[in-house]
Amino acid sequence: MPLTDADNSVMDSIINRYPRSRSAIMPLLHFAQSKDGYVTPESIEVIAKKLNLETAEVSAVATFYTQYKRKPVGEYHVGVCTNTLCAVMGGDAIFEALKDHLGIENDEVTADGKVSVEHIECNAACDYAPVVMANWEFYDNQTVQSAKDLVDAMRQGNPPAPTRGPNKLPTWKENSAVLAGLNDGRAHEGVQAGEPTLLGLRIAKDQGAK
């Protein structure tokens, strides 16, 4: 479903958040991905027209940021953290195993269009290493086996819920809309914190009880 003039009211509401319209480029690109799954040349033209910019100016932004995709990703886009801490804790092994298991390379999609994989940089969850993200939701403390099980379930259309996230894993397009700042009403779902987040607090409470 390409970005069209029918999406004008949403795009206007995004632009109206900002004192200057150009600031809306990034949320508009996220919004475009919520429609097409990636940033198409057509949506670049729509955004440029909307913001009174040259298409080259919008393209320049779209190509700078790695979350904007220039070709389709899977319905479930899986990111494996292979920055040093996660890599050492097992991220390297998980990433190699997933590529092998799915028969695809980095930044590729399975033939059924269900799953794509990408090695990602530190995702601010190092106390849950090794970390796997799916459509930018957290799957904490993964193993080679749990990651394989996760992508198998995705291909069957029934992935488990994220460790710290909504009750059901949204699709790539659904989550792209959230990144565009459109509230999907699911903020109340899921835990408020995982155990590593609470470790210091629990110890402090034990200290206080003594």
Binding site: Q67, T84, C122, A125, D127
Partner: protein, 436 residues
Amino acid sequence: MTKLTPVLSASWDQPDSFTIEGYKRNGGYRAVEKALSMAPDEVIQIVKDSGLRGRGGAGFPTGMKWGFIPQGDNKEHYFVVNADESEPGTCKDMPMLMANPHVLVEGIIIGSYAIRANHAFIYIRGEVTHIIRRVQQAIEDAYKAGYLGKNILGKGFDLELVLHVGAGAYICGEETALLDSLEGFRGQPRLRPPFPAIAGLYARPTVVNNVESVASVPSIINNGVEWFGSMGTEKSKGFTLYSLSGHVKNPGQFEAPLGVTLRELIALAGGMRNGNKLKFWTPGGSSTPLFTDAHLDTPLDYEGVAAAGSMLGTKALQIFDETVCVVRAVLRWTEFYKHESCGKCTPCREGTWWLVQILKDLESGKGEAADLDKLLDLCDNIAGRSFCALADGAASPIISSLKYFRQEYLDHLNNGGCPFDPAKSTLFALEESGAR
């Protein structure tokens, strides 16, 4: 035993800690009523007097930053929060915003009031969808409750707060790159001066603060400067979040007074996993020079870490035990800096590329001993020669690892490759053997 000081984390064990009801039940939004009853300059003075320093890495005094904003200049002022948390190892702001986004919103209202800004932004990294949901919802609920929008709490102060979601660029954690990104450009750092306090967002006076710094403000307004100063050290006052990750038995977040040591924190984390020996660690993310077991008793405050040759940074304590190859670790970090270099400055763009080539050769045993000096020479030509500190960060793990582990680099050459078994470092290798 080390006394922990949960302030920011105090309510995180309550299942609804992230809701406005949960936040208010725990005393939330009282500080904003108090602050909006004071003169803005009075609020700035309290934050100055508290000694609160930036929790995002640089450690610049927060109140002083607020005081730099010119007043009576008839220009719009902007308050921007840096929630782009991406420094490798850093994992404090994201769990805080998942568990309690309202404390940040309250801090933003107070800060914006103090610097006379009527527009504020949270720039959050894009790869954390559920945290983005929570922050978005918190903002909407704060509007509904009258803490944002027009005439807040009937005090005549207006504030619009916008959540701006990034799209996967480490460099946007650098404050001027963040501002360019927020203006709708590629996130590339600006030459300073002028500093953001004079010409920031849309060339207007702008404060850019880290999440944890801003979130610390409501508690200071509520409890006072003396309370805050009763924790920490003389020049590094207050509490902060220390994030332990890697080869400790129980990784996690520990909110403690500034100045605790890694020895104390590792004890709280249940010791090293499997009784292994600590080999190297980062005090504040991968851009801060590595430490070893010789630094277990270094006070983790701004001065203590600097005196020992590194930086407190984000207090991201990544712990690596004796199973880890330091060359592999440093190569991976260097690949990260190469990937994330924005390309604006030649020394960083080209230099990080060459660093990766040399380190790859060294790790696979194909390099030569002279490469070690070549690495240092390259670092010397990269660090301090670009617009921002990304290149300095890239040089840090290389220079510090060569300082402490030069022989391990040479072992790779003598061995014709890496002498370590990566499987021994993994989380699941230990779980499978039942040792964790």
